[in-house]
């Protein structure tokens, strides 16, 4: 079997994910003020990063699809949105699990949380459209438009929600412009898990894209067969 990009992502994931887990659970020191729950952070942040990346890719692919009308862009947009949605869900769940012991509540309508939740809702709508609408060009184009508008909407949501207080910790970039991780091992752990989740999500994206490409190919073949049969019927 020839080596493929997907296999490379899978291999990178196989190495990096255990490494990241080892660093999270064994290597990194426990943070002083939050205790052990703080270790959720090392996967929470990469998940958020990957979710945003997925949604962004989905919007870009949507624009390309509208412009070039090639099926492959539609497939890329769909796959990216779905993987983005998976990690966005994980961000919300891990965030809640961190918030319960630290803030004493699962959920609060804080600006950062609200923004993320609305993002989740936007793409929930997108995926529902994909699932409920028919599988045709029109729905694909509408999905592309939704992805594009949704991405443009994000900065606006961020601005409008800024009007509220935020209690979400700003760890990576604090007010003074530095990162808030006092021990260098924490930064190393974050970097490794960032790579691990990126590789994992790239692999998932690649897998999903493969099923979508297979589906498109299947559709093409069915079309060819239908053409053949129609010609057979039409001939005397």
């Amino acid at each position: 079997m020839r080596p493929s990009l997907g296999a490379a992502f899978a291999a990178a994931g196989c190495v990096l994910v255990p490494a990241a887990l080892f660093m999270v659970f064994v290597y990194v020191p426990t943070e002083a003020s939050q205790g052990i729950v703080q270790r959720i952070f090392y996967f929470h942040v990469p998940c958020a990063w990957v979710a945003f990346l997925g949604f962004g890719l989905s919007a870009v692919a949507g624009a390309f699809y509208l412009f070039f009308a090639q099926q492959v862009w539609d497939d890329i947009g769909y796959a990216a949105a779905e993987v983005g949605m998976l990690f966005c869900t994980l961000v919300l769940i891990t965030g809640s699990l961190w918030a319960k012991p630290i803030w004493g509540t699962w959920w609060t309508w804080d600006s950062r949380l609200t923004t993320t939740f609305i993002l989740w809702l936007l793409y929930a709508g997108y995926l529902l459209l994909r699932a409920m609408g028919e599988e045709n060009e029109q729905v694909a184009r509408l999905a592309a438009v939704v992805a594009i508008v949704a991405v443009l909407d994000i900065p606006l949501i961020v601005i409008s929600v800024r009007l509220w207080r935020t209690i979400h910790p700003a760890v990576l970039v604090t007010r003074s412009g530095e990162h808030g991780l006092e021990d260098p091992r924490m930064l190393q752990t974050l970097a490794v898990s960032m790579l691990a989740i990126s590789a994992l999500s790239a692999w998932l994206f690649w897998l999903r894209l493969k099923t979508l490409r297979a589906k498109s190919r299947l559709f093409e073949l069915r079309r060819m067969l239908a053409t053949a049969q129609a010609i057979g019927d039409g001939a005397p």
Binding site: L66, I118, L121, L122, A124, G125, Y126, L128, L129, M132, G133, E134, Q138, V139, R141, L142, A144, V145, V146, I148, V149, A150, L152, D153, L156, I157, I159, S160, V161, L163
Partner: protein, 222 residues
């Protein structure tokens, strides 16, 4: 281009005058939403300006979505949209005229809603209410721009109206936040300074949605 826009708008207004159902549907839905919210709030919470502002915007969005899909669906009735696409008009002109028509019908229902709001929530009839008008107009424009754009396709689908609501409502959230904030400030008699930022957000969203619609409509009309 302007003649085309005027012709389309004139056509929509004639149709609406002649037994169109959009304005009536919008008014009835707004009325229902207001009544439901007044009952649900109860006398205590219902007395606060924030509640009134929230009710106003819930009425706006809940009546606006079906209203817009009704207006867009009218264009599919006898394949009229195809007729428009065959005409020399640019898709963007068709979009602009449709948004204007939907926004006009919503503005009418909004006037009625405002009147009912004052009655139901025991507000003061004074000039202060006039300050709500620009806020509401901005909010209406944004909602119309979004729902007309997305409604063009969803109104042809099976679960179209639900999908339209699912797609539009989250996109509309920034306007909703800003609009409720601004309306609450106005109703509680706060100074103008409190309204400036929400108004800016509303205007920015409107601009974004209108530009998106203007650029993307031609891909959806096809």
């Amino acid at each position: 281009m302007l003649t085309g826009f005027c012709a389309l708008l004139h056509k929509d207004l004639t149709l609406e005058r002649r037994g169109g159902r959009v304005v009536i549907e919008l008014c009835v839905l707004s009325l229902l939403v207001l009544v439901v919210l007044v009952v649900a709030y109860g006398p205590e919470t219902g007395g606060r300006p924030e509640s009134a502002a929230g009710a106003l915007w819930v009425a706006l969005i809940l009546s606006g979505l079906p209203g817009a899909s009704l207006a867009v669906a009218a264009e599919h009735e006898n394949d009229c949209l195809t007729g428009l696409r065959l005409s020399p008009l640019e898709p963007a002109t068709i979009y602009a005229a449709k948004v204007a028509a939907v926004a006009l019908s919503m503005a009418v229902s909004q006037a009625a809603t405002l009147l009912l709001l004052v009655l139901f929530f025991n507000l003061q009839f004074d000039l202060n209410l006039l300050r709500l008008i620009p806020i509401l107009l901005l909010g209406t424009l944004g909602l119309c721009a979004l729902s007309t754009l997305l409604g063009t396709i969803t109104s042809r689908l099976r679960a179209g109206e639900m999908l339209l609501a699912l797609l539009t409502a989250p996109l509309y959230v920034p306007e909703l936040i800003a609009g409720v904030k601004a309306s609450a400030a106005v109703l509680s008699g706060a100074s103008l300074a409190a309204v400036v930022l929400p108004l800016k957000i509303l205007a920015a969203c409107d601009l974004l949605f209108v530009v998106c619609g203007y650029l993307l409509f031609e891909y959806l009309a096809g």
